[in-house]
Symmetry: C2
Subunit: 204 residues, 2 copies
DNA sequence: ATTAAATTTGGACAAGTGTCCGATTTTATG
DNA sequence: CATAAAATCGGACACTTGTCCAAATTTAAT
């Protein structure tokens, strides 16, 4: 027989699951380090455990399997990057400031988080082969498309299909910039932002 | 002492190496099947050997290691796809026919060779982590950029930087189309070509 | 036809993989 | 403080991986 009130039990259970969620995030953030450095194909659970200073069993205590762990990492990427874009867009309302805000946010992220985006593009490629990654990729891209659409509405250039089409265009340039940043010829913020502006101005 | 003329020896050696090259291509074409289906991360040499009906040792007899084999596969992709684009562009000289020729060639390839391009995008992502793949990716992209540049010259819209910028834009849309084709919502040739035209017309 | 070279085989090998589990330690509850 | 539950560890496990090699077979040259 239980001697405690049911709402107290409830509160206790909630605290548990919240703590567990926080720990999962903590592990995922550590795991991200390894994944960003080595890439999906070359990162083993042992690599992750070593760099995060965790035991191997821990990873399985908190995540069902390797795929779930990686998915959790990507969902953290999403929260950070997308909400950053949405914030940048919130203050801008006329055409010029929308273009500037987006170009600025994107170029900044290229300079600062290139290796995070590298992991994203790696996972997105994986999703082409492994269906387990597709819902997450779809969700993330839907959010990015939605960002482009709100930008389109704010600039008054919102034809149907602008979201997907615009996303594809912007992503093409963004990815190419990221690739150059990492594999060879890094450019400075100014140059990146100028190029990104060029895309946005033909689009909106 | 050799009793044969030196030029005869030369011819013999040439025939050997040519035959060896042809066998390498044959193996690579078989390997491509497995790679296209499973992706870089999930394709083992045994997968390749099984699907190509080859013994495991054969692969190492003709290729130094796994990476060299995959690189050879990608170089076949290059030869096929790029020369197709160049041919399509050869007959076109005014703006309209250049746009049409490119849009047609690209949309056709999306419909027919989606899973080949999937492999390409997979390898390109790998190159972000493994430097061994970078020279080949760079070479292939340089060729694609050059295609965009000649298209720019033919349409009279060749500012500096058109090649890289245009490649990035086109690739963004092309990749997104490929992804939709494979993971969910395949579209027909007409719709794909129309969208590709839209990109090319803002570019040129 | 004989001999040398090239090709092909199938398996051995060590290293690395994801997964799982019993034992131990830490934390929270009464 | 005592006790149950949660958390953590480190290694065992079965399996896959790329690589390599000695032997067998096929091909080509004299």
């Amino acid at each position: 027989m239980s001697t405690v009130a049911p709402d107290k039990l409830q509160a206790r259970a909630d605290r548990k699951t919240r703590k567990r969620q926080e720990k999962k995030d903590l592990i995922a953030r550590s795991a991200m380090q390894a994944l960003q450095e080595l890439g999906y194909a070359n990162t083993s659970l042992r690599d992750i455990a070593a760099r995060a200073d965790l035991s191997l069993g821990m990873l399985h205590y908190y995540f069902e399997d390797r795929t779930q762990l990686i998915l959790h990492c990507v969902s953290l990427y999403k929260a950070a990057f997308i909400s950053g874009l949405e914030e940048a867009l919130q203050e801008a309302n006329d055409r010029e400031s929308v273009v500037n805000a987006l170009a600025n946010a994107l170029a900044t992220s290229i300079v600062e988080d290139a290796s995070t985006h590298r992991l994203w593009y790696d996972i997105r490629s994986q999703a082409l082969f492994d269906p387990a990654f597709r819902p997450m990729v779809r969700e993330l891209e839907a959010a990015l498309i939605s960002v482009v659409e709100t930008a389109g509405k704010k600039t008054g250039s919102a034809r149907p299909g602008t979201g997907e089409f615009g996303y594809a265009l912007i992503d093409g340039v963004f990815r190419y910039q990221m690739q150059n940043q990492i594999t060879g010829t890094p450019r400075d913020y100014e140059s990146l932002a100028r190029e990104m502006k060029a895309v946005l101005e033909t689009l909106f």
